[in-house]
Every structure is written in C-alpha cells, then in structure tokens.
C-alpha cells in the first residue's frame, strides 16, 4: 500500500477515487466534456433555452431507466418497459379521447382520473404477469419480458392498427409541456420519483432484499427471505414506473402510439450500467443513474447544437460506456500491479 502511494500518488488517488463508485468517475467525465463543449460552443450550451430543453428531454429516459434499474438490481432485466408504457398510454388515450370530450365539469375531471387508474391497472397486470412467470415459474427474465414485450406491443398494434391516438385535455398536456417557476413539470415528476425510489431501495427492508437477491438469490432464499414475493414486487414496481413514463411521454407528444420510444429500450440499460448499476445485479444507486442521465443528455444537447446527426449521439453513447468500463479495468490493473 505504502509503496503504491510513494510510487505514484496521483495515479493511486485517481484509481481510489474512481473505484469509489460511479458518481465521482462520471463527474470527472462530465467535467471534461463540459469543458470541451464550452470551448466549442461558448455560452450557448448553458443558456436558459438549452438548459430548459435538456430538462424537458431528460425525464422520459430517466423514468424508463429507473424502471429498468430496479430489475437490474435484482439480477434481472425488463425488456417490456417500453411496450408496457405504450400500452398504458394507449389505454389512457382511449379513455381520454372517447369519454372526456362528451363529459362536462366535474365528470370531465372524473374521467381523467379514471383514465389514469386504467393505466395503472394495465401496468399492474403486466407487472404481475412478468413477476409471476419469472419468480414462480423460474423463466429467465430476458425471455419472459421478451415475451410480454412482444405481446404488449402486439396488443397495442392490434387494437389501434398502428394508428396514433391524439388530442388530450389541458391538465394532461400540462404534465408534459408545462413549467412551474420555469422548471418543466416532467422534470419535477422525475425528481419526485427519485426521492422515494432512493428511500425505498436504500432505506427500506424491501430495498435491502432486492440488493441481496441481486447478489445471490440462493443465499437470500436460504436466509429466510421470500424471494419470489420480492421479485414479484420488483417487476410490478418496474411496470408502475413504466406507467409514469407513459404519462409523461403521452403528455409531451399529446399523442400515443404502439411504437413510441422504442429506441429508448436498449439505451435505458446503457444509462443504468453507465450509472454504476451492475448488470449482474446487487449494486447500483439512483444517484449514479441520475449522473449518467445528465451526462448522456449533455452530450445529446451539445451535439444537437453542433448540428451533428442524432445517430452520432447514439454511437458516442455506446462508445462512452465501453470507454468508461475500459478506464475502470485499466486503472484497476494499474492499482493491482502497483500493490
């Protein structure tokens, strides 16, 4: 240990700092990127307009990433989040467009509440199916959610014949496009989700069990935890988060469709893993995820301002996760040989 500090204190400190978790590592990367973009773009990147557009775009991916993250922590995966969100959105959109226009005054508000409840119900059912098949039948999460993903998307396409349902009442649209004191409501919803999610995952018995299952399901089961029930809870929770994403997404576009946001699916996994979530389960914090999301959003917004293709953003996002992991491995090797 002491030889390491003598040999190269800077590298040693750096490797310790990086191994401290995702947040310090990502802060470093973010700082470097901000510096580069500052040089390239000057004031524009942190103007009010740019910041606000970032704040409008981040919540959708953010909420979906939370939905993915809970299942990753338990050692699973949920490929059906986008399909769930779209099916929820279409259900709500159907209630909103068929019932609300005819209703007046109090009933108009009533139908909007009913629409939300219908969305929650759909999400809960999908979550229960996923959880049951994975926890009680023992199907691997990728396969089970691949099945429900295809089923949900199929149901959405079948019911709507691929069409868009659009035109929602004012209060719903406000959730996606409104601002409170200059802050987008969608961002407030996302932040309002992050706080209880942090508490639930890191301070509650349920959260501890989720992390334990992610580390070793067998050991957790033998220590007397009803792992099946916890896993069921994980997939229901993931589905309910997808419902919130559905709400924000349909409100922002003022429409719903079977195929919205499909390109987000794999990106949510990238965001979570970039944020320090172990894809094998058991490790990861909401804070790291938020850092990763900010990083991805800054890159995407800066590239947009630089007039780069959005596909280049996609490529850079992919390269970023490999670069960050590679950096971790290199520094770890460096630390190991020094010791």
């Amino acid at each position: 240990m002491s030889t390491a500090t003598r040999a190269s204190p800077a590298a040693f400190l750096l490797s310790r700092f990086v191994r401290g978790g995702a947040v310090p590592m990502l802060s470093l990367v973010l700082l470097a990127l901000v510096a580069i973009f500052w040089l390239l773009l000057g004031e524009r990147i942190f103007g009010v307009g740019a910041l606000q557009s970032m704040a409008f775009q981040l919540p959708e991916l953010g909420i979906l990433s939370l939905a993915m993250m809970v299942t990753l922590l338990s050692g699973g995966l949920n490929l059906s989040i986008i399909a769930t969100a779209n099916l929820c959105a279409l259900t709500m959109a159907w209630v909103l467009t068929t019932q609300v226009p005819g209703a007046h005054g109090f009933m108009s508000g009533g139908w909007q509440v009913i629409a939300l409840l219908a969305g929650v119900a759909v999400a809960a059912v999908i979550g229960l199916i996923n959880g049951f098949v994975i926890a009680y039948l023992g199907v691997s999460p990728i396969l089970a959610t691949l099945g429900t993903m295809t089923m949900c998307k199929g149901l959405s396409i079948g019911m709507t014949r691929g069409n868009v349902i659009s035109g929602f009442p004012e209060p719903i649209v406000f959730l996606g496009n409104g601002t409170l004191a200059g802050v987008p409501v969608a961002l407030l919803i996302f932040l309002a989700l992050c706080v209880p999610m942090t508490v639930l995952l890191n301070k509650s018995p349920f959260g501890h069990k989720v992390y334990m299952i992610g580390s070793s399901e067998k050991a957790t089961r033998y220590s007397g935890v009803d792992t099946k029930r916890v896993l069921l809870g994980v997939y229901v929770l993931s589905s309910l988060l997808a419902f919130v994403a559905a709400l924000v997404m349909m409100a922002r576009f003022n429409s719903a469709n079977a195929a919205y946001g499909e390109s987000y699916l794999l990106v949510t996994i990238l965001a979570a893993v970039l944020g320090g979530v172990d894809p094998f389960g058991g490790f990861g914090k909401v804070g790291g995820l938020i850092m990763a999301l900010i990083l991805l959003q800054v890159i995407s917004s800066a590239f947009n301002l630089l007039d780069f293709s959005p596909f280049l953003t996609l490529a850079i996002w992919g390269a970023l996760i490999i670069a960050v992991t590679a950096l971790g491995v290199v520094l770890e090797n460096f630390g190991a040989t020094r010791r």
Partner: protein, 339 residues
C-alpha cells in the same frame, strides 16, 4: 440379429428424444401444420413452402449464428447492425469495382468478422457482460453507419445480383416455376455449417464446454479469448452473409431496415431450446424455433387474421413456450431431488 441390435441401440435414443425439448416443439409444429392444411387449401402447397423458406431465410441464417454464441454462454444483439454495415460495405465496394458473387460474399463476411472481433475483444478483455457490450456496439456500428452513409438507400444493384440464382428450375402442372434460389440455398448451408461446427469439430465441443462452465473450461486450458473470437466472429460472418441474402430479396440496401429485428431472432433461437446461460442448444432445435414462428405467422395470414395481430400471437407463443419449458424443468428437477 442385426435388426434386433440396431433396434435396441435405437430405443434409448428414441426415448431420450421423446423427453427432449425438440420433440414437443416438433409435435406442436406438426399439429399446427395439420390444422392449417385442413383449414386452408393454400398452406400445404409447394408455392407456400417456397415462400416460407425464402421470406424467413434472413432470420433463419442469423439464428444459426446466434445459436453458436448462446451455446458458448454469451449473447450478442449487435448482429443486425453488423449485417447493415456488411451489406452497405460489400455492395458499395462491389458496385464501384464491378465485383462478382464470390467477392461480394467475401467482403460482407470480412466486414462481419471484423465487427464480431470487436465484440469478442471487448467482452473478453473488459469482463463486462456480453449483453452490455453488444448493446453498446449495436449503437456504435449502427450510429456510425447512418452518419457515414446519411441513411441513403442503394437501389441500383448489379444485374446478376438482382437476378439472383435459380438452380434446378422446373414448372409445376399449372406452369408456376420453382427453383432453388439464393435464400434457400444459403439457409440450408448456414444450418449445415452450424451443425458441423458444433457437432463434428473439436472446437464445437469446446464451445459447449465453455458455455456449460467457463471457469472449468479455462482451467482445462481452453483459450477463452480465442473461443470468443471464434464464436462472435462466426456470428459476424453469418450476419454478413445473411445481409446479402436479404439485400437480394429486398432488391435494395436500406441501412435502417435491419436494426430492430435482433430480438425476433433471439426469440426464435430460445424457442428452439437454447439456454441463455449457455451450454445448451441444438441446431435442430433452432430450426424448429424459426419454423414455429414462421408457420404461425404464415398461418395467421392464411386463416385471415389481420396481420396487425401477428405480434400478439408471437408474443403469446413465446411466453407460453418459455413458461411451459421452465415449469417442466422445475418439476423434473424436483422429481430427481426426491429420488
């Protein structure tokens, strides 16, 4: 005498087959086919069989490659991006220099192997899960391809390529011509190659061993990096070949059309009994998996179900199949534990 011995040797194999995943899959396919032949006149025709094989060749060829990766204990979903890259590279160069069949396939295969190599090196050296690496490389390959090409189509393909091949051409009673086309030829070759690789080579046994238990394989002296290069390179090669087959069928190159199909191929392979944890899976199973999904979708169209409902039935089939498999595995394991 000889008949008796051959029968006694045959019986246990038959018994084993009856308990296997493939047997049940085959039974389902036969029942489905029988029902479709009775319900419609058009299902059991040579024409429909040719159409089925031709239109599912792309998925089938990819399935033969993905199977090898799954058996090796990995997963790769970047192969659709690999295919898009290979297609574009091969036909762009091919058109410019007026290349023939062999050179085109060599170029596409080489581009595919290169992409697979990148996957293999990242997966082995960075020690992160193959699904994360391949999600990242999917975005990198695809993003860069669209940036470089601007998403432009190639429609002016060389004449020999547009014509394809038609061997053993013959007309049926009503004068409809049939021929062995490029799609069917490559589809058959792909499955034969995968079967030979997995069952008739030393390296094939090593692939099964590595998928079954990577640590044990490593301690036995198997070179994990070399094996990973082989399996991911093989899938890349197969993806390159498949991309040309698809381009020939579509009569054009569209860089955006292939990405998004990766989960369909995965679904077909796992329906065929390949396990996501590695070490398990057969070529025959993969063929049946592809066939089941193909016949199901074909049958729905013939019976007159709107194609908008295709995905719903596919999803339902996947979910039921993986649930039943997991449930029966669980029961068998429980029975073994009691004995």
């Amino acid at each position: 005498m000889s008949l008796a011995t051959s029968r006694s040797a045959f019986a246990p194999a038959l018994l084993r087959f009856r308990r296997s995943h493939e047997f049940w899959l085959l039974a389902v396919i036969l029942v489905l086919s029988l029902a479709l032949s009775l319900a419609t006149d058009s299902f059991l025709t040579l024409q429909n069989l040719f159409d089925l094989l031709t239109s599912n060749a792309f998925v089938g060829i990819l399935a033969s490659g993905l199977l090898v990766v799954l058996i090796a204990g990995g997963i790769d979903i970047s192969f659709t991006a690999t295919a898009s890259v290979a297609q574009y590279v091969a036909l762009t160069i091919g058109i410019r220099y007026g290349l023939g069949w062999f050179a085109l396939f060599a170029l596409a295969g080489a581009a595919g192997v290169l992409c697979g190599l990148i996957n293999a090196i990242f997966i082995t050296k960075l020690r992160i899960s193959s699904i994360i690496v391949s999600i990242a490389t999917l975005n990198i390959f695809y993003g860069l391809l669209i940036v470089v090409t601007g998403g432009k189509y190639i429609t002016s393909l060389p004449k020999f390529f547009r014509d394809g091949i038609s061997w053993f051409e013959h007309d049926d009673a009503s004068g409809v011509p049939y021929a062995l086309n490029l799609q069917i030829l490559v589809l058959v070759l792909a499955f034969v190659a995968a079967w030979l690789l997995l069952n008739r080579t030393n390296v094939g046994r090593q692939i099964y061993a590595m998928g079954g238990n990577k640590d044990a394989a490593q301690r036995l002296g198997f070179h994990v990096l070399r094996l990973n290069i082989l399996v991911y390179g093989y899938l890349g090669f197969v993806a390159g070949i498949a991309s040309l087959v698809q381009a020939q069928l579509a009569q054009s190159v569209t860089p955006t059309v292939l990405v998004g199909k990766e989960l369909d191929v995965l679904a077909a392979v796992v329906l065929g009994g390949a396990s996501l944890t590695g070490g398990v899976g057969t070529v025959f199973g993969a063929i049946l998996g592809v066939a089941l999904l193909a016949i199901l979708q074909n049958g729905l169209v013939l019976v007159g179900v709107s194609s908008y409902w295709n995905q719903w039935f596919v999803g339902l089939t996947i979910l039921c199949a993986v649930s039943i498999t997991a449930w029966s595995d669980r029961r068998r394991r429980a029975a073994k534990a009691i004995n």
